[in-house]
C-alpha cells in the first residue's frame, strides 16, 4: 500500500500539474470514502465522482410515475431498497408504503418474479433501474416470465448504459477529466473493449478497476503512468474478473430482451443511445406500455444541485442545502439518499456541513 502511495507521489511530481480522475461507479465512490483513500493522495491528484450511482441519475418523473403506479390498488411495486427514500416531486415510495401502498423491497428481480407467481390477481411491477450490472438479471426475469406465461409481471424500465454518458461528460466544457477509473462490475458484463473509443477519439486514458482500496490506488498509478507517457489506452487493473469481450451470454440475454434507446439522465439531460428499452416482442412485460404509465415533466426541487454533483462539476460541500436542509433523513435530492450517492458518502464519511 505504502509503495503504491509513494509511486503515486512520484508520478504526480513528474506530471507537475493538477489532474482529475473520475470514477463512474457508485461502489467505487463508497470504497474511496469508506477507506478515507483520498487523504493518502497528493493534493494535485483529485478523485472525482461521476454519474455512477444508478438511483442518482434517475429523473424525478420516473419516481413520480412509480408512486402513481403504487397507488393503484391492483399493483404491487417491487424495488431495490435504495429507491425507497428517494424523493419524487411530492412524496416517496417509503411514505406511500406507510400510507398503505403495496411496496415491497426485493433483493433481485428473481424475487419480484416469484412475487408475481404468488399474487396472480395483482400486477407486480419491478422498478428496473441500474447499469449493465443489473440489466442482465432483469432481462432474464422478463425472458423467464415470457417462457412461463407469467403475464402479471412487468418491468418499469429506466436502465442506463455506461460508455455514452462518459462521452457526454467529455463534451461538457465545465468539467475537466484527465482519466477514467472505469467501473469493474459493468465491465465484467460488457468487456473492457467498449471504452476504446474514448481513448482513441478523446485521448483520455481508461483503466478498469476492482473494488478494494488497493485496486483503486493501483488504478490511479496506472492512469498517472499513462499521463506521464502521453498514452491514452484501455487497461484493466481488475484483470481477475474483466476481459476484453465480457460475458457474452449475459450480453445475448440483454440483447434478446432490450434494445438500445435514448435515455434521460438527471443533471445531464437526454443522451442518445445511453439506455435500454424493452423490445416490442416483450411489450406486455413493459409496465410503461402494458399499464399505460406516463412520464410527466421532470421537476427538480428549486436549488437542488444534484445534477452538477453528478457531472463532477460541483462537490457536495459547495451545495448550500448539503447538511442543512438536505440530510439522509430528509433528503432533497437523490445523491443524499442513495447508499451510493456522492452526497451520502461525503455526509456519512467526511465533512458534514458546507461552510
Amino acid at each position: 500500500m505504502n509503495t503504491l502511495v509513494q509511486q503515486i507521489d512520484g508520478l504526480a511530481r513528474q506530471i507537475g500539474r493538477d489532474v482529475q480522475l473520475m470514477e463512474v461507479c457508485g461502489t467505487h465512490t463508497m470504497v474511496v470514502f469508506r477507506t478515507g483513500l483520498r487523504q493518502l493522495l497528493p493534493t494535485s491528484v483529485k478523485l472525482i465522482s461521476g454519474p455512477g450511482c444508478p438511483v442518482c441519475v434517475t429523473d424525478t418523473n420516473y419516481i413520480d410515475a412509480a408512486i402513481e403506479l403504487c397507488r393503484r390498488p391492483y399493483v404491487v411495486v417491487a424495488t431495490f431498497g435504495d429507491l425507497l427514500r428517494v424523493p419524487g416531486s411530492e412524496s416517496s415510495l417509503e411514505r406511500e408504503r406507510a400510507a398503505g401502498a403495496n411496496v415491497r423491497v426485493v433483493y433481485s428481480p428473481t424475487d419480484a418474479l416469484a412475487l408475481a407467481r404468488e399474487c396472480p390477481s395483482n400486477r407486480v411491477v419491478f422498478l428496473g433501474i441500474g447499469f449493465e450490472t443489473t440489466a442482465p438479471t432483469v432481462a432474464w426475469s422478463i425472458w423467464r416470465a415470457a417462457r412461463d406465461g407469467i403475464d402479471n409481471y412487468h418491468v418499469f424500465c429506466a436502465h442506463k448504459t455506461m460508455p455514452r454518458v462518459m462521452e457526454a461528460l467529455l463534451k461538457d466544457q465545465h468539467v475537466k477529466i484527465d482519466g477514467f477509473i472505469c467501473p469493474g462490475h459493468v465491465s465484467v458484463i460488457t468487456g473492457a473493449g467498449m471504452y476504446r473509443f474514448i481513448c482513441e477519439q478523446y485521448k483520455i486514458p481508461c483503466v478498469v478497476s476492482g473494488f478494494e482500496a488497493w485496486d483503486i490506488l493501483k488504478t490511479t498509478t496506472m492512469l498517472l503512468q499513462q499521463l506521464v507517457a502521453g498514452r491514452a489506452e484501455v487497461e484493466v487493473e481488475y484483470s481477475r474478473s474483466v476481459n476484453e469481450r465480457g460475458n457474452v451470454s449475459a450480453q445475448q440475454l440483454m440483447n434478446e430482451v432490450f434494445e438500445p434507446a435514448d435515455a434521460s439522465w438527471r443533471g445531464l439531460g437526454a443522451i442518445p443511445q445511453s439506455g435500454l428499452a424493452i423490445r416490442s416482442q416483450y411489450a406486455r412485460f413493459d409496465a410503461a406500455r402494458a399499464l399505460d404509465v406516463r412520464l410527466g415533466e421532470a421537476h427538480v426541487p428549486p436549488g437542488c444541485r444534484c445534477g452538477e454533483v453528478l457531472r463532477g462539476v460541483l462537490t457536495p460541500l459547495e451545495c448550500k442545502f448539503f447538511g442543512h436542509s438536505c440530510t439522509p433523513v430528509r433528503p432533497v435530492g437523490p445523491c443524499m439518499v442513495s447508499s451510493e450517492g456522492v452526497c451520502a458518502a461525503y455526509y456519512r464519511y467526511e465533512k458534514r456541513v458546507a461552510a
Binding site: 469508506r34 477507506t35 478515507g36 483520498r38 424475487d111 439522509p328 433523513v329 433528503p331
Partner: protein, 336 residues
C-alpha cells in the same frame, strides 16, 4: 419533505428513532429520571440505586440461529440493566399471541425463557397474556420489564464518559443481525453465522469485581456500534476515535454485509457491549474480560479525546480517517 406518518425507519435505532423519542415522547413525559434517555432508568430508593427498564420484542422469525424471541427478551432486558452496572433480579413478561400460534412453539419459547433466566439468576415475577386475531401479529410479540440493583458506587451514563478513556469491545460484531436476516424470506442465504444473543450480567460482574474505575457501558443493539459511539460522543461532548484494524468482524458476516450492502458497524448485536474506563485501568479490565467466556475476543478498539466534539471517527485500515455516522434507520425492521 416532512414525515407525517410512522415509517419503518423510525424503529431503526438511529436518528429517526431519536427524533421520535425526543420530539414526541420525552417532550410530554419530561422528568429528571427520564431525561438522560439511557437504556435503563436509575431510581434511588432508601439511598440505594436501582435500574429499571422495559423493552418489546418483535423479532422475525421467532426462532433464529443461536436463539429465539424468548431468549432475546430475557437477554435484551438483562443487558439493559447490566449496562447500568445493575444485577438483574426481577422481570415481568407480557405475551401478545396470534390466533393459530402452535402451542409447541410457545412451549419451546417459554422453556428457553426459563433456561436463560435461571442461568443469570433472574426471576419472572409478573406477566400477562393477550391473544389477537390471526394476521394481527406474526406469531407472538413479547414485552418485558426488568428491575435490578446497581452494584457500583458511581452511577454512570453516556454523559459520564471522559476524555482519556479507553474503549473496550467484548467480541465479534454484527452476528445477531446477520443471523436473523439470513432466515428472512426474500433474503434467505446459507451461513454459519449464529446470533451472539447472551445475557451480559456475568461478564459485567467479572469486570466490576476487578474494582477498576468504569465510566460507562453500552450494549450494541439496534444501530450497532455506530449508533452507540455516536450517541455517547454527543451526550458526553467528546470525540471517540476507533481503529478499524482492531474491529473484529467474522469473514462470513463481512461477506453477508457486502452482499446486502450493509455496514457491520450499524448492524445489531445482542451479546456485545463497549466499556469506557481510564486508559490506566484498561489492561486490567481487558484481562478480566478476556477470561470470561463472553469476552474471549475482547480488545481495546479506541480512545476518547476532547474532539472533534460530539463525533465518532475511525482510522481506516489503509491509514485514512473517516466519520462514523449515526445510522439513519435501516430498512431492516424486526431484528429484535
Amino acid at each position: 419533505m416532512k414525515h407525517d406518518r410512522i415509517l419503518l425507519g423510525h424503529g431503526g435505532g438511529g436518528s429517526l428513532t431519536r427524533e421520535l423519542i425526543t420530539g414526541i415522547f420525552a417532550a410530554e413525559f419530561d422528568n429528571p429520571v427520564l431525561k438522560p434517555l439511557e437504556d435503563s432508568a436509575v431510581l434511588v430508593m432508601s439511598g440505594k440505586g436501582y435500574a429499571f427498564t422495559t423493552d418489546s420484542y418483535v423479532v422475525k422469525p421467532y426462532f433464529f440461529p443461536g436463539g429465539d424471541i424468548g431468549k432475546l427478551a430475557v437477554c435484551g432486558t438483562v443487558n439493559d440493566l447490566a449496562m447500568q452496572g445493575a444485577q438483574p433480579y426481577w422481570l415481568s413478561l407480557s405475551f401478545i399471541l396470534e390466533e393459530g400460534l402452535p402451542l409447541a412453539a410457545l412451549h419451546k419459547i417459554v422453556q428457553s425463557i426459563g433456561h436463560t433466566a435461571r442461568s443469570v439468576g433472574v426471576e419472572i415475577v409478573a406477566g400477562d397474556t393477550k391473544v389477537v386475531e390471526r394476521g394481527k401479529c406474526e406469531g407472538l410479540y413479547i414485552n418485558a420489564a426488568g428491575l435490578g440493583r446497581i452494584q457500583t458506587t458511581n452511577w454512570w451514563g453516556a454523559g459520564t464518559v471522559k476524555t482519556g478513556d479507553a474503549v473496550l469491545l467484548n467480541g465479534f460484531l454484527a452476528e445477531h443481525g446477520i443471523a436473523v436476516l439470513s432466515q428472512r424470506e426474500g433474503i434467505a442465504f446459507t451461513t454459519r453465522v449464529v446470533s451472539d444473543c447472551a445475557p451480559l450480567w456475568p461478564l459485567v460482574k467479572a469486570i466490576l469485581d476487578t474494582g477498576a474505575e468504569i465510566h460507562a457501558m453500552r450494549d450494541l443493539t439496534r444501530g450497532g456500534l455506530a449508533a452507540a459511539v455516536c450517541d455517547i460522543a454527543q451526550a458526553a461532548k467528546v470525540g471517540i476515535h476507533l481503529d478499524e484494524t482492531t474491529l473484529p468482524v467474522d469473514k462470513e458476516v463481512r461477506g453477508a454485509c457486502d452482499l446486502l450492502g450493509l455496514d457491520p458497524l450499524s448492524i445489531a448485536n445482542e451479546g456485545k457491549c463497549i466499556v469506557f474506563c481510564p486508559v490506566a485501568e484498561s489492561e486490567r479490565v481487558l484481562a478480566a474480560t478476556k477470561q470470561h467466556p463472553l469476552g474471549k475476543e475482547a480488545r481495546i478498539i479506541g480512545k476518547v479525546s476532547s474532539g472533534p466534539e460530539g463525533m465518532a471517527v475511525m482510522r481506516t485500515a489503509i491509514g485514512g480517517e473517516r466519520i462514523i455516522d449515526m445510522p439513519t434507520g435501516e430498512d431492516l425492521p424486526r431484528i429484535c
